[in-house]
Structure formats: structure tokens, C-alpha cells
Symmetry: C2
Subunit: 217 residues, 2 copies
């Protein structure tokens, strides 16, 4: 395999990046073949990790019982979130669909083992959270690999982490970083749900660029 990425290969990469969505509503009941799931998880496993720690694990969930439990966790946490809002914003929030836990054929809980490879982790000596960040790099690889397989993914972050941990028998030292829903989809929307529905606008990348030092706000 040549090391050089060609122009057409680069275009394929960018197509994957720009057509990736956070999917909640469009899941189809079609099963994901084992070989496809294996490719997606192997790509996640080839993310960068601090000190080559590879701190992640993947709990693959297919049972309706576990999904129903997690959906209940979401419903509780989502009600609490809605109650932080008032008026029109609250109504707008409650109209949004924010998860596809039961519709997605597959759920994956991605965790971080904070003590994998021992006490000294190369590169984690100035910032202890680098292992969590490595796990998020694996999640983003997983998300893009799913998209490259024409599979949609949604990240459900509105959940009580401790209750989830207990239900999935996750040991104390292991942190659940993400709860993901995966499945084939009816479509990938052109724009993110929160942009389409007017929750917030897409910012321009130029607003986010600084030269040499932080520019005054």
C-alpha cells in the first residue's frame, strides 16, 4: 500500500467526514453483519492513544431488556434537563428527538480503563485526562468508520453514568465515556438536526481562528 493519499482518496475521506451525522430518528431494523461491526471496532482500536495505552473497551449491546433499561435512564435524565428550561425554549427542547436507543439494532458503550498499563503512563504526566481524550479519539474513529460503512451513529449523553455503570457491571476504575446507537438508516440528513430545527446556527470556521496568540474577544 502506497503511503501517499491520492486526490480521489482524499475526496473520499472528506466525503465521509462531511456526510457523518448524529443519528437519532432514521434507524432501520436491518442487522449489522458481524464482519462490518468488526471493521468498525478495529478502526476504533487504531485510534491514537496516550503512551500507547489503548485504554478503551467496547460493550456491544443487542438485548431489548438492556435497551429498555437505558431508555428509562435517558427518559429520567431528559426530563430533568427539560425542567432546567422555561417557555418557548422548553417547548422546543421537548419536540426534539435526542436518542434512538431502542430503534438502533446495536448499542455500544465505550469505556476507559484509567489504570491500564500501570501507574506511569507516558504523556499523561502533565494531564491525567489524556486517557479519556484517547478514548474519545477512538469514538470519533468509530463514528467515521460507521459512516464509511453507510451506518448511522448517535451519541446519547443524557444518561446517569453511575446507574449505567452499575447495570452493565462496569468495575469502579472503568469510566463509561460514551453510549452509542448504531444502525443502517433511511437517510443521512444534509445538516445536523440541531441546525435544521433552528436550535443553534452553524458558526463560520473563520470565527474560530487565531494567529500566534488568542485574539481579544
Amino acid at each position: 500500500m502506497s503511503q501517499i493519499i491520492s486526490e480521489s482518496e482524499r475526496a473520499a475521506f472528506y466525503k465521509t467526514v462531511y456526510s457523518r451525522r448524529d443519528v437519532r430518528r432514521e434507524f432501520l431494523p436491518k442487522a449489522i453483519p458481524k464482519a462490518v461491526l468488526s471493521r468498525i471496532l478495529t478502526a476504533a482500536h487504531h485510534a491514537p492513544s496516550v503512551g500507547f495505552m489503548q485504554p478503551w473497551d467496547f460493550i456491544v449491546i443487542e438485548s431489548d431488556r438492556t435497551k429498555a433499561f437505558v431508555k428509562q435512564l435517558f427518559t429520567e435524565a431528559n426530563q430533568a434537563a427539560a425542567d432546567m428550561l422555561t417557555g418557548e425554549r422548553k417547548k422546543q427542547y421537548k419536540r426534539l428527538k435526542l436518542e434512538g436507543i431502542q430503534e438502533a439494532p446495536l448499542n455500544i458503550c465505550v469505556t476507559c480503563d484509567r489504570s491500564r498499563t500501570g501507574d506511569f503512563v507516558l504523556g499523561r504526566t502533565s494531564n491525567l485526562d489524556m486517557d479519556l481524550y484517547s478514548t474519545v479519539c477512538a469514538i470519533q474513529n468509530l463514528w467515521l468508520a460507521a459512516r464509511a460503512e453507510n451506518i448511522g451513529m448517535g451519541w446519547v449523553s443524557i444518561l446517569d453514568e453511575n446507574k449505567l455503570k452499575q447495570h452493565l457491571n462496569i468495575p469502579e476504575r472503568i469510566i463509561p465515556v460514551a453510549y452509542l446507537c448504531l444502525g443502517y438508516v433511511s437517510q443521512f440528513h444534509e445538516k445536523p438536526d440541531l441546525e435544521r430545527t433552528g436550535w443553534l446556527a452553524r458558526r463560520q470556521v473563520d470565527q474560530h481562528l487565531h494567529s500566534e496568540k488568542w485574539q481579544k474577544d
Copy 2:
């Protein structure tokens, strides 16, 4: 643009993922054209973000003075890290090259604005760190986009965050999540540096898979 990712497009995506490396030693002094940098940062900006918060900023650094300052921060933090080790492991650590701050034509500090879009962030109500995780998703997009442009990148995590923040005039509420070095390279190695040099071994992805619940350790 068709929504379907074809088999050859998927192969191009996986080629990018598997040939990405954490680069420290192989940077060439060749400048990165503005249009290429712009494509890389725009891909980063199209990462997923919690509540469509887009909390990231990118400080692009080219001056030798800033690079020399950051290199000094690395040298201090790296000495402190080495002093945590003893014997053969310490010798092995000190032989590793862990950054290419001054060799890389471009450095980028990626930050997270924790209060962007106000107090209520959709999806961040159960886990306050979701904005930091979104920023890491942008960093992984950036890393892969750089690779797709045949540009190497290294993440320097051995730095005092507060000193860096002060030097770059970064406001209190903004967190520097990553300090990155980018440039064209003489080669992308087949394996990560820490695997090639025997610091740690590549684990098998199967060791990281659990079905339905966490399997006993």
C-alpha cells in the same frame, strides 16, 4: 454528492485511518499552503459537538519565538516525567523523541470554550465534560484530515497547561485541550513509535470486546 459511500471510497477512508501516525521525528521544513490548512481546519470544525456548541478554537502558531517557549515548557515537564521512572525504564524513556515542536512548520493549540452558547447546553446536562469530548472529536478529525493531505501530526501532551495558557493570552474560561505539531514528513512509519521501540505492545481488539455486560477481568 451521493449519500452512499462506495467500496473504493471506504477503502480510501480506512487507508487514511490505518496510516495515520503520531509524528515527532519525521517533519520536513516544507511550508503548508494556506488552502491545505484551511481544508484541514474546516474538517475539524465539522466534527460533532454536544448541543451543536462548536466549542473549539484554533490558535495557529508559526513564530520561532513561541515555539522556543513551548519547547522549553516541554523540556521542563519531560524532565519531571523522566524523574518519576528509574533504571532501565528511565533510560528507555529518555531515548524517545516525544515532540517535534520546532521542526514542524506549524503548531496549533486547540481550545475549548466552556461557556460558549450560554449556561444550558443540550446534551451536557448529565456530563459537564461533553464539551471537552467534542473538542477531542474535532482534534481527531483534524488529525485524519492532515493525514489525508499527506501531512503528519503529533500531539504534545507533556506541557504545563497553565503556563501555556498565560503565554498565549488564553482567557480563564477557555481550556487548551491539545498542542499539535503539523508538517509534511519524510515518511509515515508502518507502526506507532512506541510499538516499534518496544515501549508497549499493540493489544488485540478482541481483548477489548464485551457482550451485553462487562465481562469479568
